[in-house]
């Protein structure tokens, strides 16, 4: 019987022009979203490449200088020396021999590679710069850069597949199913159908199953097509594991909206009022609650002001400069082994600059950490309040699945900080020892390779969102399931 009803429903759905227009719109939106998501990720990759190539080119140029110099020293004899003056004149040792100059004037770009699914959910990746210049400068200088994008576009957000799934899919689902029972009732066909050996529950289930099957078949098949066209790393297990999690999340989220439509149909009055109620619920869950939670988070844990941070960093710099000599002493006190022979205090510019950077770093670091602390607290609050809205859960889940979440970026930042320390140590040590960089030293510069987060860490953040959606779905679906036993066909 159920089969019969489903096939009947499917035939009926197939003949409704409204349904076809909804499906066409949905498919169009998915294709557009995949295309624009793909462009967004591609741009990041292009930017990272260009920046890396440019800075590597600068270092290559310096290395060429040292090669020529080495050849000259070899031919003419003498000592391979260190360029004491930063802007080395033509005849002396080239600037490439000075580790301080190489470390300060060229940057090493470190890159956070996108996951295979990044194009499906751009998430925060459009406001986080995924390639950062590491040099002898302070942490602030490393992290202050922003990706270029029209702020208006950033404010409205990306038209990616996550948007289609979170915002549009519920509208389409509700448009298809807001009048499941009410329209039959209004047309007077409900009583007739129920005269057959079928319960309201079965009827409802078959209606929903046929609609869900059509809708999800479209979403999932175009999801796969999107992945195959704009996804990357298709030969890695990671991508496919992420994609199956994407499917799970999408199924749970859609299931919730179908269940909601059933719930409203059971308790609702006529089709028009069902429509009003569902549109209202959509607005509240997808737009208002997330905005409220966001407002709550930024009001309870406001980020410290960047302006105040700037002023504080400045104060530290001024003091450092005013006490240049004292700071230099302090600096050498930390590195007694580097005090140059002969003169007790090397007053050259780079040493001073480094001593300054060091003291600024020391002064600003606690302030800077404060930003991350507040951000983490905001994220925590959002994690706790996400259960108020399936849209928040879904957004967090998709950001995690696609590797465009704030947490993965923080994981990246910690590696950048560690690498920054390594980079600084390498170049400042060589510089303070007045060690002349040789061409072969250029191969031994520290290298950065992003270490992907442990999968368990991702799951730890993902599971609460998925479970939350599952529980919400079960809660919503259970009520009509029980209530439908006593459904009155006669108009109330």
């Amino acid at each position: 019987m159920l089969k019969l009803i489903i096939s009947h429903e499917a035939r009926q759905i197939a003949r409704t022009s409204a349904l076809w227009s909804i499906l066409v719109l949905l498919v169009g939106a998915i294709i557009f979203a995949a295309w624009s998501g793909g462009r967004s990720i591609e741009r990041q990759v292009v930017g990272a490449q260009a920046a890396t190539e440019y800075e590597d080119g600068l270092r290559h140029h310096l290395r060429e200088g040292t090669k020529k110099y080495a050849a000259k020293v070899e031919a003419e004899g003498g000592e391979y020396q260190f360029a004491m003056v930063r802007h080395a004149p033509g005849s002396g040792p080239p600037q490439g021999t000075n580790a301080g100059a190489v470390g300060a004037e060229t940057s090493k770009f470190v890159t956070l590679p996108p996951t295979g699914l990044a194009a499906l959910s751009v998430g925060q990746s459009d406001i986080q710069l995924n390639y950062l210049p590491v040099s002898l400068a302070t942490t602030l200088d490393v992290t202050k850069w922003l990706e270029l994008e029209n702020p208006v576009s950033l404010a409205v957000g990306s038209f990616d597949i996550a948007f289609v799934v979170i915002f549009l899919l519920p509208i389409f689902i509700l448009a298809m199913s807001y009048d499941l029972l009410s329209s039959e009732k209004e047309r007077g066909t409900l009583a007739m159908i129920l005269a057959h050996p079928i319960s309201v529950r079965e009827l409802m289930a078959s209606k929903i199953i046929s609609r869900a099957a059509v809708m999800l078949a479209v979403v999932l098949s175009f999801g796969v097509i999107a992945l195959l066209t704009v996804g990357t790393g298709l030969d890695t297990a990671d991508t496919w594991i992420r994609f199956s999690l994407w499917i799970v999340a999408t199924l749970l989220y859609s299931a919730f909206w179908f269940a909601l439509a059933v719930l409203v149909n059971v308790y609702g009055k006529n089709s028009a009022s069902n429509g009003t109620v569902l549109a209202g619920i959509w607005l509240i869950l997808v737009v208002i609650v997330p905005q409220m939670v966001s407002m709550l988070a930024t009001t309870i844990y406001p980020a410290p002001s960047r302006m105040e941070l700037t002023i504080a960093a400045r104060q530290a710099q001024t003091e450092a400069e005013k006490n240049a000599m004292a700071k230099l002493d302090e600096y050498y006190y930390d590195h007694l082994e580097f005090v140059p022979e002969g003169d007790k205090k090397a007053m050259d510019f780079l040493t001073l600059a480094q001593a300054n950077a060091n003291s600024i770093e020391k002064a600003v670091r606690p302030l800077y950490d404060n930003f991350q602390d507040q951000l983490n607290k905001q994220e925590e609050l959002v994690t706790r309040f996400q259960y108020l809205s399936p849209a928040i859960m879904m957004q967090l889940a998709l950001n995690e699945v696609s590797g465009t979440s704030a947490d993965r970026y923080e994981h990246f930042l910690h590696q950048v900080y560690a690498f920054h320390v390594e980079w600084r140590a390498y170049f400042s040590t060589k510089f303070l020892q007045r060690y002349p960089l040789k061409p072969e030293d250029y191969d031994a510069f520290p290298e950065f390779e992003y270490q992907e987060e442990a999968f368990a860490a991702v799951m730890n953040r993902l599971v609460p969102s998925l479970l939350g959606m599952l529980i919400l779905f079960l809660g919503v679906v259970l009520v009509p399931f029980i209530a439908l036993r006593n459904y009155q066909v006669a108009a109330r």
Partner: protein
């Protein structure tokens, strides 16, 4: 007759549960948004003023040093919040708030508030503007979609027509009734908002606060009118109330949620924003190469020759100005056209993108309204660009004045140029540079830039009224 219809419509709406709920939610949200916005705004104003005063003091108190070193120490420009940013935060969460003004480099603004917010901030800001742009249309739809189709379903439309009411009277009566119901929800909130405005001390640094508020009101009233008449038009056209609702909600989601994002992606396609890394690498390479292909040091060598000829001297020592300072300033100036070209390219791209997005407003009236609202609240790109331009002008002046001073005051050092032989200036010299002050853009050019958006809204209003008149005219006894 019109008033009788209006009164009936109004009474019916107000007695409906829909009205109470939506009105309550709307009022609550508007008030919350305005209050939160105002609180954020006043904090922002306080911090900005303190920071700008602080950086000016730090500039003067940076310690005695060479004027050019002072240029390296530099100064900061901090962006003040837009005069109505508590109503419409616009792009202010997504632009930097501070620009470092230093020698040799033109910098971007840094410190973007969105970077310090959690991921769900991307769902948007709960601001007064957002509520009026998204919730107000929905309120109108909810209150008005049954105006014709509901009566048609219940059979009363036929009765009303039989009483000799003209179609036009019916339309305007209903428009008046629904419009009045919407007004009594929204206007108290606006009045409270204006009260907040009176409290705000923002009026002192923005021109024409009255003009801004009036123009904003006109724009939002037009926007509300568009939805009112569209609702009536669709309601008169459709047979079932549920169809009316589906079409209207579909359009609402299309213009309020789908099109802003789609328009942004389309504008990024027609005028792609360069990736930061690519742009930066291109600009740095261009700087080295020189604007016209002649590297700066080659240009400077030629300039030196000219300079020697001009003063009839043969060595640096004989020049009547400090050669190091001349060199610094010249090299600085060789970069200006490069900066202008590359920074200008981004600015032009953003402007072109805005124009594309505004043009797409032909299918989505939310887009022109959004542009107007941001502009008049002082939180759009035009305002940001003005700030960045002011900051750059200030920077170039600062560099020029310091190098100039050095060039005059250190002439005697020409002959004894050495790394450890330089002049030291003090606070008095640094005081030549006045504190940075930002002048918000004038209203007139802003209106000019957005005149097409006002026209677009007006076009939409006429279109919706026309549609309502056509569809309501088709209503007849026979067909109902």
């Amino acid at each position: 007759m019109i008033t009788a219809i209006a009164r009936k419509e109004f009474a019916e709406i107000v007695r409906d549960g829909r009205f109470k709920w939506t009105a309550a939610i709307m009022v609550l949200l508007l008030l919350t948004a305005m209050m939160a916005g105002y609180q954020k705004y006043s904090t922002a104003v306080r911090i900005q003023q303190a920071a700008q005063a602080g950086t000016n003091e730090q500039w003067l108190d940076q310690g005695d040093k060479n004027p050019h070193s002072a240029v390296h120490y530099g100064n900061y420009a901090f962006k003040p919040a837009g005069p109505l940013s508590y109503f419409d935060s616009g792009i202010s969460n997504y632009t930097g708030t501070a620009v470092f003004l230093e020698g040799h480099r033109q910098n971007f603004s840094t410190g973007r508030p969105a970077s310090d917010q959690s991921a769900i901030a991307r769902f948007g800001d709960l601001s007064g503007a957002n509520i009026l742009q998204l919730l107000l249309p929905l309120l109108i739809i909810f209150l008005g979609f049954t105006a014709f189709s509901g009566e048609r379903e219940s059979g009363t439309l036929r009765q009303v027509m039989s009483m000799g009411v003209t179609n036009r009277q019916l339309l305007w009566g209903k428009a008046l009734g629904v419009g009045f119901a919407v007004t009594i929800v929204v206007v108290p909130c606006i009045l409270i908002g204006t009260g907040v405005l009176a409290l705000a001390e923002s009026t002192d640094h923005a021109e024409g606060m009255f003009m801004r508020v009036s123009a904003l009101t006109i724009a939002y009233v037009m926007y509300a009118g568009i939805f009112l008449f569209l609702t009536l038009a669709v309601s008169a056209h459709t047979t079932h109330a549920r169809t009316t609702l589906m079409i209207l909600i579909g359009f609402w989601a299309f213009t309020g949620f789908l099109m802003p994002k789609a328009a942004s992606e389309i504008s990024k396609f027609t005028h792609p924003t360069p990736a930061f890394g690519k742009w930066m690498a291109d600009m740095k390479a261009h700087q080295r190469r020189g604007i016209d292909g002649t590297p700066p040091f080659v240009k400077f060598a030629a300039y030196t020759k000219e300079l020697f000829k001009e003063y009839g001297v043969n060595s640096v020592g004989e020049l009547p100005m400090y050669f190091v300072a001349v060199r610094l300033q010249k090299l600085e100036e060789y970069d200006y056209p490069v900066f202008d070209q590359h920074f200008g390219y981004i600015r032009d791209t953003y402007t072109k993108q805005r124009k594309v997005q505004d043009t797409i407003g032909i299918v989505a009236p939310t887009l022109p309204l959004r542009s107007i609202s941001m502009a008049l609240s002082g939180t759009d790109m035009i305002n940001h660009v003005k700030f960045m331009t002011d900051a750059e002008t200030y920077r170039r002046n600062m560099v020029l004045k310091m190098n100039d001073y050095l060039s005059k005051a250190s002439v005697h050092l020409n002959e004894t140029f050495a790394a450890d032989n330089y002049m030291v200036a003090d606070e008095e010299v640094f005081a030549i540079i006045p504190p940075f002050e930002y002048e918000p853009p004038r209203l007139a050019p802003m209106f000019a830039a957005h005149s097409s958006n006002f026209a677009m809204l007006f076009f939409w209003l006429l279109l919706s009224i026309g549609m309502a008149m056509v569809t309501s005219n088709r209503i007849s006894m026979e067909r109902n």
